[in-house]
C-alpha cells in the first residue's frame, strides 16, 4: 500500500508494533468500528512470539492450556482478519508530528507517511535491529559494502562476499548467494552452527567442492576507502587471515532497543519504558497510548494477557479521541448484531438482543 506517498493514507489509529498486543488492538478497535494500520520493523507479524520463540509452548494464555509462540500469532491473525488492517512491515517508525487539527503524522524509515487520529505504541521491548559488529570505521561501509539483510540479490552479484554468523540466516544466504557472488567465504567463531542441519550439510558439501570457503574466527578489521570495502581481516586461532572482499553480510542476530520513540517527548520510565495511566493507558501526550511490554505503571506485569487487557481499555479511550461527537455503546460480541456484522459472522436471531 505504498502506492501514493504524496497523500498520506488516513487511519483511525496507527499501531506501532505488530506483536501480540498490537495485533489484538486491531480486534478491539475493529469492534468499535475503528480501522488501523500496523507498522513493524520485522518482516512478519507476531513480535517476540514469532521472532524469539515460535516453537516454544506458552501456558498462560487464558483458555489456551498450551499454544506455541507462532500458534498464538496465527490465531490472532485469524481473529483480526475481518477488520482488514493494513500492515506496513519491514519499516521502522521514526518521527511523529501533530497537525493543526489534532491528528498525527507518522513517518517510517522507508519514507511512508501515515495520518492517524490516535497512536497506539505497542512496541514491546523495542525495535528489533541487527546487531552490529564492533569494528573501526564500520559506519562508513554500512549500506554501501556492509549489510545486515539482503534486500536485493543483485547487490552481491559478481562480488567477493564474506558472510559472518552461524545461524540460519548466515547459512541460508551462503547457499543462496553462492551461485551469484564471485566468491563466498563464511566466517563464524566456531565450527558448530545454530542452523538447520540440512543447511549445514549443504554448506559443508559446497566447501568440499571448493565453492564456499569457511574460516573459523572473528571479524577483526575492515579495509577500504570511501565506504568501498576491499579487504577484511579475520582473527583466527592461527593468526590473522586477510580476505579480499568487497561485500560483507553480517548476521549476528537482533538487538532490541526503544529506538526513535525515545525522542517523541513522552514521559519515560528508566529512559526505555513509556509511562501511562491505568484508566486509558494513555501517555503524557493525549491521543498517544502505550500498551503491552513497552508501557510502565505501578504493578505492571510483562505478560501477553496484560497487553490484551490494555488494548481493550486503550481502544475505548481512543474511540473518544477519534470520534469525539459519537456516543460509545458498550456491547458484547455474543449479543450485538452490530458487532457480529463487523465480525462478518451471521447475526444470531434478533431475539438475542
Amino acid at each position: 500500500m505504498s502506492a501514493d506517498r504524496s497523500q498520506p493514507q488516513r487511519y483511525d489509529v496507527a499501531i506501532v508494533g505488530a506483536g501480540p498486543t498490537g495485533l489484538f488492538a486491531v480486534f478491539e478497535l475493529g469492534l468499535l468500528g475503528l480501522n488501523a494500520v500496523l507498522i513493524d520493523t520485522l518482516d512478519k507479524p507476531g513480535g517476540q512470539c514469532s521472532e524469539l520463540y515460535p516453537e516454544k509452548p506458552i501456558y498462560d494464555i487464558p483458555s489456551w492450556p498450551v499454544i506455541t509462540g507462532q500458534g498464538l500469532t496465527d490465531k490472532l491473525l485469524e481473529q483480526i482478519a475481518p477488520f482488514k488492517a493494513d500492515f506496513l512491515l519491514g519499516r521502522r517508525v521514526n518521527g511523529m508530528t501533530r497537525q493543526e487539527d489534532g491528528r498525527f503524522l507518522i513517518g517510517t524509515d522507508a519514507g511512508d507517511t501515515v495520518d492517524a487520529g490516535a497512536i497506539f505504541i505497542a512496541a514491546g521491548a523495542g525495535c528489533f535491529t541487527p546487531r552490529r559488529p564492533k569494528l573501526e570505521g564500520l559506519e562508513a561501509f554500512e549500506n554501501r559494502s556492509v549489510f545486515y539483510a539482503v534486500r536485493s540479490r543483485a547487490a552481491f552479484a559478481g562480488r567477493d562476499l564474506v558472510i559472518a554468523g552461524g545461524g540460519d540466516s548466515a547459512l541460508d544466504w551462503t547457499l543462496d548467494l553462492v551461485s551469484t557472488a564471485r566468491s563466498v567465504t563464511l566466517v563464524h567463531r566456531s565450527d558448530r552452527f545454530r542452523a538447520a542441519p540440512a543447511s549445514v550439510s549443504a554448506m559443508r558439501a559446497l566447501e568440499a567442492e571448493g565453492r564456499v570457503r569457511f574460516v573459523e574466527g572473528d571479524l577483526a578489521a575492515l579495509h577500504g576507502a570511501a565506504g568501498d570495502l576491499s579487504r577484511i581481516d579475520i582473527r583466527t586461532k592461527g593468526g590473522t587471515v586477510e580476505l579480499p572482499a568487497d561485500r560483507l553480510l553480517a548476521f549476528y542476530g537482533l538487538n532490541i532497543e526503544l529506538g526513535p520513540i525515545a525522542e517523541w517527548g513522552l514521559d519515560l520510565a528508566d529512559g526505555k519504558l513509556v509511562r501511562v495511566d491505568t484508566e486509558k493507558f494513555q501517555t503524557s501526550t493525549p491521543g498517544i497510548f502505550a500498551i503491552g511490554d513497552i508501557n510502565h505503571y505501578p504493578g505492571k506485569l510483562k505478560l501477553i494477557l496484560s497487553g490484551f487487557h490494555e488494548a481493550a481499555l486503550a481502544s475505548h479511550a481512543a474511540f473518544k479521541v477519534v470520534r469525539p461527537n459519537e456516543k460509545l455503546r458498550f456491547q458484547y460480541t455474543t449479543s450485538s448484531s452490530e458487532l457480529q456484522q463487523r465480525l462478518n459472522v451471521a447475526p444470531i436471531a434478533e431475539a438475542a438482543e
Binding site: Q48, L52, K56, A125, G165, G166, R189, D218, I256
Partner: protein, 108 residues
C-alpha cells in the same frame, strides 16, 4: 534475600562497582534484573535473547558450572564476546558463589 548474606559483585555499563544481595536458587540474570543493573533478560531465562550477557571475572570462570551447548551457541551469535562471557540466565545462584564478580558489557 540470602540468609547467609552472600553477595554478588557487579560492574555496570558505566564502570561502577556494586555489591548486591542475592537469592539462593535464582538465576543470576534475575538477581541483576531485579536490582536495576541494566540487564534486560527479555526472554525470561530461556537462552533466546542474549540480553543478559555478562563477563565473568577470570578468577571465577572455572568455579562456575560449565555452559551447555545451547548457551555457547547463543553466545556465538554475539558480535563480540570475551573468553569468560556467559549468559547470566544460565547461572543459578547458590551461596557458594559468594563474591562472584561479573561485568556487564556495553550492549551490542
Amino acid at each position: 534475600m540470602s540468609e547467609t548474606g552472600a553477595k554478588i559483585v557487579v560492574i555496570d555499563r558505566a564502570g561502577e562497582r556494586h555489591v548486591l544481595e542475592t537469592v539462593e536458587g535464582w538465576r543470576v540474570m534475575e538477581i541483576l534484573r531485579d536490582q536495576n543493573t541494566g540487564i534486560e533478560g527479555i526472554c525470561g531465562g530461556s537462552c533466546d535473547c542474549a540480553t543478559c550477557h555478562v563477563i565473568v571475572d577470570p578468577a571465577w570462570a572455572d568455579r562456575l558450572p560449565a555452559p551447555r551447548d545451547e548457551e555457547l551457541d547463543k553466545l556465538d551469535e554475539l558480535p563480540l564476546i570475551e573468553k569468560t562471557s556467559r549468559l547470566s540466565c544460565q547461572i543459578i545462584w547458590s551461596d557458594a558463589l559468594d563474591g562472584l564478580t561479573v561485568t556487564i558489557p556495553e550492549a551490542a
